[in-house]
């Protein structure tokens, strides 16, 4: 099923080539930001607020400044002199770099200590004394719009309440009418909790400003180096740091998952300090700071409804959302999409009416939200649709697999227009679910479940058949701060036939050095081992919007293929010239052009490249290189069918994930080993919010689990042994038919797990469980239902 039409020596698409980047990582030679050490480098540490909402009365830095090695303490007032105390967010809101009078969430940056060593900076931080006047924080988003709620953003002109925006999609009137007339309607209230990406490497930077040349080199953990360069220029252009004076280098990144898309205050402070003192400044946050202050993900309160006939034909869905954005809207979404791509939440089912509405509010929590390995709020949407679909199955007493099979959009109905306006490119949902059911042994499991129930044992089977939406995006709709969301590839082939290729994206573990090389090898026939891939240096790579939302393969991967095809066209012209035939007489096979009917008359790609430098046709431009900026015509729509089997211990509520089968369809596969690895990782980040993770705050705004001691990232013990497979439905509009895969499993897994757990207890009258579903919650529910 996996297409493979180059020999392994070339290593084009479909081969499980071992990763090129691994050699350095397994030998301790990766170069992550904290590994960078520059002469004269200073270290920065940040004083953070213990209160969620407080006035700053006084910052006393005397004791800190008296410490050996402490060079400076920078506060909001100091930045204010340069008008650097505020910055824009990606959603055109505003965010403090450092406060001048009020702190808005616990762990907010208050001031920064600069010292000659890491330890001196920490000593200085401990010695700064800040006097606060605490105020009662606003923690409950449902109370944010009450008359007695404090007005959190008086800094925003004309703002009289805590409402940020309202968003709508679909046809309200039509949907309401279907609901009124439907035989069956179901409804559940669900919270998709606030969680944190918690990549094992935290965020950090080394800002290196060279006063003599007025030039900033910014080494930082960013998933989008070019966009960041533009943002820095927008924030600091007025002090002379214009875009040509800025070089952003994103070295090896220890996991991103969306958490390394935003600009955090620490980066801006480091730049400001380096600019003022003329020395390199390093800032590396520690884990607790990372969990407590960096952008959260999710935090959507959703009312989900579905209308259907009594036979189980789905007719309509309705979703009402309350989004808790914390103190500012610092989401990492495309500009025109305040709820990201939530409107994919109509799911994989064929029906015509849907209406969705969201309101966002300010509270005294840290700002966000980012993706957590998800394409812009798709996880929230998928959780709601897949849970409510199961709720319907329960209501009408139909098997949830059967219900899905009867309602799927049919393979032949693609491209399919969704009620919220998306054009799904391709899919074969029936095949995916059937494959998952066969692999897991669905019918036998249902029998086993019935037997267990008769004995009073708890076992559940949960299904999630989701549609993703990735590859943002087509320039007519997608931009970030006005910059269109194309992406780019530049390929240069050297005279000896070896290449370097550079991209506007930035791998954080996805394996781009391998997969991009495979795409180029596929198209040009140059062995992938001879194609070196580089990303993350804005001085050398072409402009692109970076890596997040599974967009690298759909955008930069496409750019690589198109660029390589441009070069192949040039090679063809040279071949025609050298073989003295017309271009129409030539045929391509991986690695060479030959004359039709005379395969002995041929030129290898290496010979043709060499000729481009040594013997090119008169009138043709010499050299063998090109750049392509790819603007996708549509998004891509990967899909998946996941089945989870759980056993629950009644006495303790302990949930054992016995099996988890994931069938993904990401279109044509570039490297099956890497696709599978991405799916494994995404699944573990799917079980995480389903069973373990959420950021918890008390009424006073204190975070109760802001360290790795109590924020439960799954270990190898919690993570099941995943079983994965695929169906292949190529994207019809992508040059190599690929769709993107890194996030599908994170999106699809949580409802499969929640559905399995609810299914295990549905005969007791349980219709819904809020994630993370912990043993305690299960035990409590069993107790309430009188099962124990």
């Amino acid at each position: 099923m996996i297409k493979c039409d180059t020999p392994k020596e070339i290593g084009g698409m479909g081969h499980s080539m071992k990763r090129k980047e691994d050699d350095r990582f397994i030998q301790g030679k990766g170069n992550y930001v904290d590994d960078i050490k520059l002469p004269g480098m200073l270290y920065m540490d940040i004083v953070r607020s213990p209160y969620a909402y407080a006035k700053i009365k006084k910052i006393n830095t005397d004791a800190a400044m008296a410490i050996d090695g402490v060079v400076a303490v920078v506060d909001g007032k100091a930045l204010e002199q340069y008008n650097l105390h505020w910055m824009p967010t990606l959603m055109s809101d505003t965010q403090m770099v450092l406060p001048t009078d009020t702190v808005m969430y616990q762990a907010q940056e208050v001031c920064a200590v600069i010292a000659t060593s890491r330890y001196a900076a920490r000593d200085g931080k401990e010695a700064v004394i800040v006097e606060y006047e605490p105020m009662k924080p606003l923690m409950d988003p449902y109370k944010a719009l009450n008359d007695d709620a404090p007005l959190l953003r008086p800094d925003k002109e004309g703002k009289t309440d805590n409402h940020i925006w309202n968003w709508k999609a679909g046809d309200k009137e039509k949907t309401d009418k279907v609901f009124e007339e439907a035989d069956v309607t179901v409804k559940e209230q669900m919270h998709i909790p606030r969680i944190h990406v918690a990549s094992i490497e935290t965020c950090g930077c080394v800002a290196d400003y060279d006063k003599v040349n007025n030039h900033l080199t910014m080494y930082m953990t960013t998933q989008a180096p070019h966009a960041i360069r533009t943002v820095i220029a927008l924030v600091a252009g007025h002090v002379g740091l214009t875009e040509e004076k800025i070089r952003v280098i994103s070295p090896d990144i220890g996991g991103g998952f969306g958490g390394k898309v935003p600009v955090y205050p620490g980066y801006v402070i480091a730049i400001a300090v380096s600019f003022l003192v003329g020395k390199p400044v390093k800032w590396i946050e520690d884990r607790s700071e990372n969990l407590q202050a960096d952008s959260f993900a999710r935090d959507y309160h959703i009312t989900a409804e579905m209308a259907a006939t009594k036979e189980g034909k789905i007719l309509a869905t309705r979703f009402k959302i309350l989004a808790d954005h914390g103190y500012t809207d610092a989401s990492a979404n495309p500009s025109k999409f305040p709820t990201g791509l939530y409107s994919i939440g109509t799911g994989s089912y064929d029906y015509g009416a849907s209406y969705m509405e969201a309101d966002a509010v300010y509270t005294n929590k840290p700002p966000g939200g980012v993706a957590y390995r998800c394409s812009f709020r798709v996880t929230e949407a998928v959780h709601a649709i897949e849970r409510i679909t199961d709720r319907l199955a329960l209501e009408i007493g139909k098997d949830p697999a059967q219900l899905r099979m009867e309602n799927f959009i049919k393979k032949e109905d693609f491209p399919w227009k969704s009620p919220t306006g998306w054009e799904y490119d391709s899919g074969d949902y029936h095949a995916g679910l059937q494959k998952a059911m066969d692999a897991v042994g669905y019918d036998e499991l249902r029998k086993e479940q019935a037997e267990k129930r008769a004995k009073g044992e708890l076992m559940g089977i949960g299904i999630s058949t989701f549609t993703e939406i990735v590859g943002a995006g087509p320039s007519k709709d997608f931009d970030i701060l006005g910059i269109k969301m194309f992406d780019s590839a530049e390929i240069r082939v050297h005279p000896t036939g070896k290449a370097i290729a550079r991209f506007g994206t930035k791998s954080q573990g996805q394996g781009h050095e391998t997969t991009y090389a495979q795409i180029i090898a596929q198209e040009l026939g140059i062995p992938m081992e001879h194609i070196q891939v580089e990303e993350g240096d804005t001085d050398t790579a072409p402009y692109g919007l970076g890596t997040y939302a599974s967009r690298s393969t759909p955008t930069a991967g496409a750019a690589a293929a198109v660029a390589a095809r441009k070069l192949r066209d040039k090679a063809k012209k040279i071949a025609a010239y050298l073989l003295e035939v017309s271009e129409e007489d030539l045929e391509w096979e991986p690695g060479k052009f030959f004359v039709k009917g005379a395969p002995e008359k041929s030129k290898t790609i290496q010979e043709l490249v060499f000729a481009a430098y040594t013997n090119h046709p008169q009138g043709m431009e010499a050299g063998f290189e090109t750049t392509h900026y790819y603007d996708p015509p549509n998004l891509t729509f990967p899909s998946g069918a996941y089945i989870c089997v759980v056993d629950i211990d009644k006495e303790t509520g302990q949930i054992d994930v016995r099996r988890f089968v994931a069938i993904d369809d990401c279109g044509n596969i570039i490297n099956p080993m890497i696709v599978q690895g991405q799916v494994h990782g995404g699944l573990t980040q799917g079980i995480a919010p389903a069973m373990y993770e959420s950021l918890i705050y008390d009424d006073d705004g204190n975070i109760l689990n802001g360290t790795f001691m109590d924020y439960l990232v799954p270990t190898a013990v919690e993570s099941p042994s995943w079983e994965t497979g695929h169906t292949v439905t190529p994207s019809p509009h992508h040059p190599i038919g690929a769709k993107g895969v890194g996030e599908s499993p994170t999106v699809g897994a949580p409802p499969a797990i929640a559905n399995a757990i609810v299914d295990a207890m549905s005969h007791l009258g349980v219709t819904h469980m809020e994630i993370p579903i912990t043993p305690f919650k299960v035990w409590k529910t069993l107790k309430e239902k009188g099962a124990i």
Binding site: I26, Q27, K29, G254, M673, M709, A716, S721, T724
Partner: protein, 167 residues
């Protein structure tokens, strides 16, 4: 105030003056510039900083440099020999046991001791054995495979297939 200590790092004996409060991980990364050992947390939870001290896997963020006085330390930089990669390094590469690579050095150092004590561990023993090391990227399936592969290689058994298996 500083104190003199002597350690052997990856076979090289060295004496250094260190502050008594200096963490071992900072000694290795900052004073000795061996940056393969990483820092992923401040609560001894993640294991990114795992190294071998006298053959035992230790979270080097949880030990003071002065406690390492007189000890033999091996970090990821000391795994490969002139003969080539260590079996655990080969295992990770061949089985796609890493994505971003940030947890990898610590994970491998932990696995080295695990295999030393138990050359033929079951999947469950491996999972419990590495449960002090977090990986956010891989979902652990292939880390388990990588350690099984390294075990086979160390024992001299036939090597398991490194092709991905699909249902």
């Amino acid at each position: 105030m500083t104190k003199e200590i002597t350690i052997t790092l990856n076979g090289e004996k060295q004496s250094l003056e260190v502050e008594p409060r200096l963490l071992l991980v900072h000694l290795i990364r900052e004073n000795l510039n061996q940056t393969g050992t990483h820092i992923g947390c401040d609560t001894s939870s993640c294991g990114a900083c795992t190294i071998l001290v006298d053959g035992k896997s230790i979270k080097s963020c949880t030990m003071l440099a002065i406690q390492a006085d007189g000890k033999e330390i091996i970090t990821v930089e000391g795994l490969a020999t002139t003969e080539g990669l260590h079996p655990i390094q080969e295992g990770f590469k061949e089985n796609h046991g890493l994505h971003c690579g940030f947890c990898t050095p610590g994970m491998m150092m932990r696995a080295v001791e695990l295999l030393e004590n138990n050359p033929n561990p079951t999947e469950e023993e491996i999972r419990w054995g590495i449960s002090g090391n977090l990986c956010r990227c891989t979902g652990y399936n292939n880390i388990v495979k990588a350690i099984q592969y390294a075990g086979a290689k160390i024992r001299g058994d036939e090597l398991p297939s490194t092709e991905p298996e699909f249902v």
